[in-house]
């Protein structure tokens, strides 16, 4: 049985490999329409953001980012449903040693700071909402792993999550009702390029993204950890 399964997997892998190899045969040196170069050329002028990736993620393809946010949200919701009825406060966390617990407590504010920095400077340097949000979620996970008991409040978490999501959409709708199109970048050129206060609504969007992603992932990780819902208002 295993033999057959291995054989079939081998055939499948070889087939897939062959297919991929044959696909890479022809490649084009000149694109018919050079979207990439045009973004390079026009991106900063359109958005005022020093980080071109941000201008693509939030400016040109903002709707896609909203979609990605939604995908994360759906995944978290679905996972939450499946993991759903964890018995509250079942097994007490394994307590790590003294060094681990103290280090975790020390690490926590630094991680929050790092995450916040990444989010806020998303439009200037590599980073942004998704990355920063993941770091913030990690910030809540480290104490969980070390067993030092700092818990994530699910109620506050979900409130922040929903407000952030609505905030993102609201900023987009602001652009719509202001006479433009949905998610059109506003106030793009109201600050000096490269300064913190530049690129208009883009940092705000990233803030919303970061908060949402952070609280989502944190609550998901908390669920996975199987810890119950003790309210510890600390977000």
């Amino acid at each position: 049985m295993t033999m057959r399964r291995n054989l079939a997997s081998l055939i499948f892998t070889v087939g897939l490999g062959l297919m991929l190899v044959s696909l890479m045969q022809g490649s084009h040196t000149a694109f018919p329409v050079e979207v990439g170069q045009n973004i390079n050329a026009a991106g900063f002028a359109d958005h005022g953001a020093a980080n071109l990736v941000t201008s693509v993620v939030l400016g040109y393809r903002g709707l896609d980012t909203l979609g990605e946010l939604t995908i994360l949200f759906v995944a978290a919701t679905a996972a939450g449903m499946v993991l759903g009825h964890c018995p509250g406060g079942s097994t007490p966390p394994v307590r790590g040693g003294f060094i681990l617990a103290t280090a975790a407590e020390l690490l926590f504010p630094f991680l929050i700071l790092l995450g916040a920095y990444i989010i806020i400077h998303g439009h200037l340097s590599p980073g942004g909402g998704f990355q920063g949000g993941a770091v913030i979620a990690a910030a809540y996970y480290v104490p969980l792993l070390a067993g030092s008991g700092r818990l994530f409040s699910e109620d506050t978490g979900s409130l922040i999550e929903s407000l952030a999501g609505v905030g993102f959409i609201a900023i987009g709708l602001l652009a719509l009702w202001g006479g433009g199109e949905f998610l059109a970048p506003l106030y793009s050129h109201n600050g000096a390029p490269g300064a913190l206060l530049s690129a208009g609504t883009l940092p705000l969007l990233y803030l919303a993204v970061g908060l949402k992603v952070g609280s989502e992932l944190a609550s998901l990780l908390a669920r996975l950890g199987g810890i119950g819902m003790e309210v510890d208002d600390d977000a």
Partner: protein
């Protein structure tokens, strides 16, 4: 006015985002909020639909940038009708009696948002993103109750579907590599200027990869292995949603890609062959099904194969046939799954079950007859148009296609008739479970929809033909989406972009 089309995606999103904290504050309002949002969504969709029916299809841009840098929606009859129908279907199959802290209503709302996005979007990656929303939401719905076997099946579904999505992404990447843009209209323009671009090995491979990837959800061979297992185990309304709604959405993405980029290449043949194999295997497998759910799952596979065949014809009759068959399937399959929930016993033990619920069984018979294609029900018109489409298609070998379609239809008729005669046999001595109360309303409403469709076929036919013509109107699609300044090739859109970005559109 059409700028408000984005609200079709945003309304359910906002509702879904805020539903969880709302649930903790006020459970009653949370219960009502979901359906209320869906109702308002449907009303907005219908308003926009009437607007489009009067004034013709329109394009809506976002972010203030014209394609191919930005994203645009294309509002046409079929897309907008699909949004409205999605809303109505979700409302009919709404989880009214679920526990108040269950996240199912959120998943339904997210499904609606994704469906609206798929139906309206004109950008390839945007379509993929919304497709993922729908896919993940459907995983959640399938996995929701925590029974062991279902969890295994849903994890298998998840893995399989994720692999499919990865393949689809690879295909999209290949298309970007070839065409240099992610906007369907722009890619269509590129394809129109260079006919050999997408008929190369790369182009067709990209199409095949996307076909397999989306085919997971669209129940096409070889990616429909999960269907009997999942439909057999999950709850009836979830099966109904997946079979009725999600599969059509996946198919729509494929079709938009096919018609914009791949007309006149071999991609239509690929879709045709896939559809034929799906149809054949599905209907044959249903022939010896032992339970009603299993029979319906395989029948669903067969119907989706038939849809793929119909759409691959590429002429108006074929597309109209596909639309009508899809509508027929959308109305019928969820109701049939609800019936199957009641008639759970093996088919051989179902003798005489129909006599205990005469009206409901009569409706069941009506639905099955429509699926089989008996006049004057919509299924018949669909099959008639399909034959017309196949026999007027310019390619050769259509005789075989017709023969295969007739053979599989006959097989379908045989097994359904066996089922019906067993249901109406002499009354059995076994205790007969009555149709569950909460299933009455959706079944009755879907049946009423079917009857309304039958009676109103005259009106619907003109709209179907209009919708089909719009779908096939490639140059019109391109003209609406690409502003006039961009309709000549290559790099001169830089400066024009900045100009249009400043102005923005008016709602």
């Amino acid at each position: 006015m059409t700028q408000q089309a984005i609200l079709l995606v945003l309304l359910p999103l906002i509702a879904a985002f805020t539903l969880t904290p709302l649930r903790r504050c006020n459970p009653v309002i949370a219960r009502v909020a979901g359906p209320a949002v869906v109702v308002s969504q449907v009303m907005l969709a219908i308003t926009l639909l009437l607007h489009i029916a009067q004034l013709g299809p329109e394009a809506v841009g976002f972010g203030g940038f014209s394609i191919p840098l930005g994203i645009a929606f294309h509002l046409d009859l079929v897309g907008m009708s699909l949004v409205a129908l999605a809303g109505v279907t979700l409302l009919l199959l709404w989880p009214w009696t679920v526990e108040s802290d269950s996240a199912e209503p959120s998943l339904y709302l997210l499904l609606l948002a994704g469906a609206s996005g798929i139906a309206l979007s004109a950008d390839l990656f945007n379509l993929y993103v919304f497709f993922e929303v729908v896919a993940v939401a459907s995983y959640g719905l399938v996995a929701a109750p925590n029974s062991g076997i279902q969890l295994y099946a849903s994890i298998r579904l998840l893995l399989f579907s994720a692999a499919g999505s990865a393949l689809a992404l690879l295909g999209i990447g290949l298309i970007y590599n070839l065409g240099g843009s992610l906007s369907l209209a722009h890619l269509g323009q590129v394809a129109a200027q260079d006919a050999t671009l997408f008929s190369s090995v790369e182009g067709l491979s990209a199409f095949t990869l996307i076909l397999i990837g989306l085919g997971v959800k669209a129940e096409l061979f070889p990616a429909n292995h999960w269907v009997p297992e999942v439909y057999g185990l999950s709850r009836p309304r979830v099966s109904g949603l997946l079979a009725g709604l999600v599969s059509k959405l996946a198919l729509l993405i494929l079709l938009r890609l096919l018609w914009q980029l791949y007309t006149g290449t071999g991609a239509e043949v690929i879709l045709l062959v896939t559809g034929l194999v799906t149809l054949l295997l599905g209907e044959l497998a249903a022939f010896r099904a032992t339970r009603l759910r299993e029979m319906l799952a395989f029948s669903s596979i067969g119907q989706l194969g038939l849809l793929a065949v119909a759409f691959s014809m590429g002429n108006e009759a074929g597309v109209a046939a596909g639309l009508l068959l899809a509508l027929n399937h959308l109305l019928i399959k969820p109701a049939l799954f609800l019936y199957a929930h009641n008639w759970r016993a093996p088919i051989t033990a179902l003798g005489g079950q129909a006599w205990s619920t005469p009206l409901a069984s009569a409706l069941f018979v009506l639905m099955v007859l429509s699926l089989m294609g008996i006049p004057p029900l919509p299924g018949f018109w669909g099959k008639y148009l399909l034959l017309k489409g196949v026999l007027t298609a310019p390619t050769l070998g259509m005789g075989w296609v017709v023969a295969l379609i007739l053979f599989t239809t006959l097989v379908e008729m045989i097994y359904f008739m066996r089922l019906l005669t067993r249901l109406y046999a002499e009354k059995s001595v076994q205790p007969i479970p009555p149709l569950s109360r909460r299933h009455y309303a959706p079944v009755a409403l879907l049946g009423a929809g079917l009857i309304a469709l039958t009676l109103g076929m005259g009106h619907v036919s003109t709209h179907l033909e209009q919708g089909a013509a719009q779908l096939l109107d490639r140059s019109g699609y391109r003209d609406r989406l690409i502003p006039a300044s961009l309709r000549h090739p290559v790099n001169h859109f830089q400066t024009h972009l900045q100009g249009t970005a400043r102005q923005g559109g008016h709602p």
